[in-house]
Symmetry: C2
Subunit: 158 residues, 2 copies
């Protein structure tokens, strides 16, 4: 069993906080969960693949290539510290469509996406990307919900 | 990282085939996927917990305790061969409610459930247990869809 490495595609996005681009709380949570609960100390058996999808209309005329690169650097640096092999790239488009296409293209063993979690009044508003991926992706999908105590007071900080 | 073992709860059910109770194709698939892609050779870092939910009205007056025990034996034997620690038990009730309650009770790191997959004409009929768990379970949930080429000709063989 386990001749080839397990390739895990992790969809990551940035926090809406202004200023220097940081990974969102849910992206960080999904990454740390994958390391702590799945990869553990078996680093050479896994390959983490980070995909950031830039939705073109979202941020106007900012230099998003640079922001996305900074975002991915965070995860690549963490992987280097831990010693797990990784790759990272950016695509433009509608996140759920791009993620599904990338799953088709690179055929990971597992797709991990963070989710902001479904509050009682948010069910219809959030979770659309993760639910779409869960239903349609051609590989197993794991959704890591953010802990309730990590919900930022201001949704823009998410 | 990874001081405590990763506890994975796997919901398993039996094939509807008559005769000796066998695990369903999707249960076997979920188990083998977990071993091959997640546990790999890091067997001492994981603990697999098998839950079979017996839905009382489903099979009339048969001796279901015995059937469920045989079903769980399959997975326990496989774990013993592989060398991964495990536990297994049976509960009665509505599968999706029981699985959610067991997640609350034992707090696994991950819930794995097999799914028959969604064929073009089956979307409204199947996937209810896995979708319910995915939406409501208080832990990350992974759904392993059965491969299309494993779909039995007769649904009763599922």
């Amino acid at each position: 069993m386990g001749e080839e490495v397990t390739r895990i595609l992790i969809g990551v996005n940035e926090s809406s906080l202004k200023g220097y681009p940081n990974p969102s709380i849910s992206s960080k949570g999904a990454f740390e969960w994958t390391i702590n609960k799945i990869v553990r100390n078996n680093v050479s058996a896994f390959n983490l693949l980070f995909l950031h999808v830039h939705f073109p209309d979202q941020d106007g005329y900012e230099n998003m290539d640079s922001r996305g690169t900074h975002l991915l650097e965070y995860f690549v640096n963490r992987c280097n510290e831990i010693g797990v092999p990784c790759a990272a790239w950016i695509k433009e488009g509608d996140p759920k469509e791009v993620i599904l296409n990338e799953v088709k293209r690179i055929r990971p063993d597992l797709l991990v996406v963070g989710s902001r979690g479904l509050g009682p009044f948010q069910k219809v508003l959030v979770g659309t990307v993760s639910e779409f991926c869960w239903k349609h992706a051609e590989c197993p999908v794991m959704t890591i919900k953010r802990n309730a105590d990590e919900t930022p007071r201001d949704p823009v900080d998410d």
